[in-house]
Amino acid sequence: MAEIKALKLAFDVPGANFDRAGEASAKLKRTLQQVGVPAEVIRRVAIGSYEGEINLIIHAGGGQLQAEIYPDHTRVIVSDQGPGIPDVKEAMQEGYSTASEEARAMGFGAGMGLPNMYNCADAFEIQSKVGWGTIITMDFKHQDR
């Protein structure tokens, strides 16, 4: 059986630069539109990816956003070598936030990012260790819910 190759995208997300926050997710969104993924699915991928991008900027001093687009699903990997999350369970709670005043002034840091990523994705995995960084993997099936 022929191996199914993914269309892979990778972006470096610079830290502490809100002006550019969302550029990588916007490019991912355009690519998904070009390959004909359903609009409702693209919206969930874009939101999950954008929340991840914002988190890289607010919390991690930047990082990487990668996407692998397969015929039946898209995988988004958000990774950084930032401070890590001491208590992932606590960070996953709606409303829990350690965001800066600057982030809040831009309308973010309400403690909805991780829960929203979890809700948007069909599968969500987070690995984090203090002093090592964080890797979040989200899978999105190419079918409406």
Binding site: F18, A21, G22, S25, K29, R43, I47, F108, A110
Partner: protein
């Protein structure tokens, strides 16, 4: 409710979107918190906000919003409108406060993005 009806109800100025006034909006959201817009809106929602930073346009793009109303007589910077134009995202400005804007649109029959269906 069409965008043109929103313009008329709010006595709003069209900052971008003159050719998109027949766009039909299904729901409306009033928020300055982009985190909540990302979590609670639906496609084709009209967002009323007092925020004028570029992240409002990016959030609108990611969530497939139908249009923006900038409240309290505020003016977004040129870069905001340039990006809105690139995304074909209509931007209106009204002198009404957030509370008044939401009240007027609700009275016109526009529905909110209820958390529970």
């Amino acid at each position: 409710m069409t965008l043109l009806e929103v313009v008329q109800a709010l006595d709003a100025e069209i900052l971008y979107g003159q050719t998109l006034l027949d766009r039909e909006l299904e729901t409306c959201c009033g928020s300055d918190l982009m985190s909540d817009v990302l979590a609670f809106t639906k496609r084709n929602t009209l967002l009323c906000t007092g925020m004028t930073n570029i992240q409002v346009v990016r959030t609108a793009d990611m969530t497939d919003l139908g249009g923006l109303v900038i409240v309290r007589g505020k003016r977004p910077p040129a870069s905001f409108l340039e990006e809105a134009e690139a995304e074909k995202l209509p931007v209106l400005a009204t002198k009404h406060t957030m509370f008044e804007t939401c009240g007027i649109l609700y009275a016109c029959g526009l529905k909110g993005c209820s958390v529970k269906e």
